[in-house]
Symmetry: C2
């Protein structure tokens, strides 16, 4: 049996590795468009900031390690076409631009996403960067480390944009975030993003919210960003306005894609075509609370779904228990975490919900260095079931969201979680922990 994997980062290499662990006789061939396999792209902002000065630390396994596992990997090889009827793919060797055909018994599609590049005039100027691949990170770090790069404009206030904003603050740059929407990090609700925005402002970031980029100005290099409301000096621009599934090569293959281009899969990672599997950021993912597929391009889901795909390619019938949309980000001295539905998502799903937003603390005041934690809960009104949780604070805010994640996964009510026996010791938590206090505040 020969598995052919298209895309060798998170989901692809998880599937390849899992298959090899279960069936060491399987032939596994991986084509990766880029120059690196199996890296933690979420670490890129901390390489750019210099907090990590060795990009190889982000690489979970090297090409050599995969070779030793019996997995054949080809870098700089792009699959440009899939022909399910013949169980063939058309591959382009990007180093010499030669095309060739390969065969598969089972196919895994794990090509991830492509950044959305808006057609702004001036987009071709130098010093305008994205940050998706390890190569992007290496290039951005090189430019950002130069002392003549002083004014950095970040276009897009999502996870990557805000993490790079912090990285640039760390490097001593003048940082401006331009965001089309009226707030940053929109997977969180406004109560929480208000605090995050305040934190960024306190650290000297300029936030231009509700502002639309129109043009990048400059000769060879970018010199300024012009929006509908002003023109801002820029020695360096990060473009981070979003991503889309990298699935255009599947057009005409017969593989069903969602309207945004994500591969439609079932909970066993099977596409509509026999022997073709998909997982990771290029595909949809089943959401436990929504009880339907959605698009959440995060490494958490990619690694888990990739591993499940590998097991099922080997003959198993594992089902993904579902994503909760759990995510976290550090914003200067604050931690932020979220899981389940946001209020906006609950509203869009026409759920009759109730919310609380509660300030408490990471531990009692009689132990030194108490810090505040804010928790927002979204609950179903009728059942009092917790649907979503968000937190922000200096210490322990994110790990508490994991507590809510397990509770939401198990359909717990606020009342039951409010009485659950969590750990208590003065350095870590109060006798009624911040989790209890929020849960017991639900009206």
């Amino acid at each position: 049996m020969k598995l052919l994997v298209i895309g060798g980062v998170a989901a692809g290499m998880s599937a390849a590795s899992k298959l090899k662990r279960v069936n060491k006789d399987a032939e596994v061939v991986v084509y990766e468009k880029g120059g690196f396999l199996s890296y933690g792209a979420c670490g890129l902002p901390y390489y750019v900031s210099g907090e990590n000065n060795d990009y190889t630390k982000m690489i979970a396994r090297t090409q050599e390690q995969f070779t030793n596992m019996g997995i054949q990997t080809f870098l700089h090889h792009e699959v440009v076409k899939v022909v399910p009827d013949k169980k063939q793919v058309l591959v382009k060797d990007l180093k010499n631009n030669k095309l060739f055909i390969d065969q598969y018994d089972k196919l895994m599609i794990s090509t991830g996403t492509s950044p959305i590049i808006p057609p702004f005039p001036g987009i071709q100027l130098s010093n305008i960067h994205g940050l998706k691949t390890l190569e992007d990170g290496i290039r951005l770090q090189e430019v950002a480390s130069r002392p003549d790069i002083k004014d950095v404009v970040i276009v897009g206030g999502g996870y990557i944009g805000i993490e790079v904003a912090e990285a640039m603050l760390h490097l001593g740059k003048n940082v401006r975030v331009v965001e089309l929407s009226d707030r940053i990090l929109k997977t969180f609700d406004k109560e929480v993003t208000d605090l995050a925005e305040k934190e960024l402002l306190n650290h000297g970031t300029k936030l231009n919210l509700g502002e639309k980029v129109e043009t990048f100005l400059g000769q060879e290099k970018v010199e300024a960003v012009k929006t509908d409301q002003g023109t801002y000096k820029a020695d360096l621009v990060l473009l981070s306005i979003g991503v889309k599934p990298a699935t255009s090569f599947l057009d005409g293959s017969g593989i069903h894609l969602a309207s945004n281009g994500a591969v439609i899969i079932d909970r066993e990672m099977r596409t509509n075509i026999q022997d073709i599997y998909s997982a990771g950021d290029c595909a949809q993912v089943y959401h436990k609370v929504m009880e339907e597929n959605t698009f959440i391009p995060l490494g958490t889901n990619a690694n888990k779904c990739g591993r499940i795909a590998g097991a099922n390619i080997a003959g198993s019938h594992q089902k993904y228990i579902g994503t909760l949309g759990s995510a976290a980000i550090k914003v200067c001295n604050l931690e932020m975490g979220r899981t389940g539905l946001s209020e906006e998502e609950a509203k869009n799903l026409a759920i009759d919900y109730t919310t609380v937003f509660v300030k408490s603390a990471d531990h009692p005041g009689y132990y030194p260095n108490q810090t505040p934690i804010w928790i927002k809960l979204i609950c179903e009104k009728r059942s009092r079931r917790i649907l979503g949780a968000q937190s922000i604070g200096q210490k322990g805010a994110v790990l508490r969201i994991d507590v809510f994640a397990v509770a939401i996964h198990n359909n717990m009510t606020a009342d039951e979680l409010g009485m659950l026996d969590l750990c208590y010791a003065p350095p870590f938590a109060g006798v009624w922990d911040a989790v209890h206090i929020a849960a017991n505040a639900v009206k």
Copy 2:
């Protein structure tokens, strides 16, 4: 309706407050033997160490605040007898040694525990202290802060003993822990306590394990502790060998007590006698995993069960969802947490179990300051259900135990938790968090 509460610390004041919130017309009278109400006794070691220099911070609500809530509280008043047939109690005013009778409609017994004082010769010498009440803490802090107090011997290596050991290290003392058993903190398993013992040794604590105290030597003040294996200089001794339910005043009342003296209650905090409730350290508590009553004298259960008692006294029928035996302690630079069954408990219950002990890390190596986390899991073999979890590490070890607590409460298998969508961001967790890695390691 008049509620009479015996003991005004955690469970008692939780019950009193809850009743008053639900039924503001209820008459509530509290008799407390000590001089303080409603304090967080778990904060005492940090007052002794000087990390908190204001003991009033440990007091959740003052007598005046309770008075303003309409709760009548009497300090230094000990209830010495309960007569259920007449719905009467006999109260001793400890300031003038006068006895008087009071009546109740509903009675709440929340007297907590008494320290076990062993009949060692020399026990009457000065500078031998316990640490249970706020008064104990104030006295111990006074003595420990004196520079002539250099050698401190702690008898008993449970939570209090180890927390005070750390407090004494903090004060620059020579610290020795003498423990009868072959290891400290026996609610944790050996893999975990081995690491805790190493941490204490590395910080200069002397550990005399498997050693039995025989005599305290000295003239007026304690000067040395003699055990079956040696004699150790001591300017100050902390006795912390355990506690027992403070229920001897109930002898002959007809209220059913367990063999250790704990009040037997149902999940609604009712004793065997109508209109008499009990909760907190003086009573048993229902254990979710054991599916039976047990004795776990911790503030976590006391506060929750007290609140439930108050609700039920007001006419409700709330049931405690059950303790998990969750507990946490800081040992020098390490956090330790536990929930559910230990291996020893599983063995005693004759469960067919399997365990793993896994070292991973709090976050990926490509973000600065990665620290190790060790997690031990105890799972039922047949069902793969997680029964217990323990952790030790420098950062995030305890809050991860809360994640396991919710999983255990919900009867989750290791496999399901191993795929659950927890938060991932480099400063906080890996894409496969320490929780996943431990769960997925279960064979």
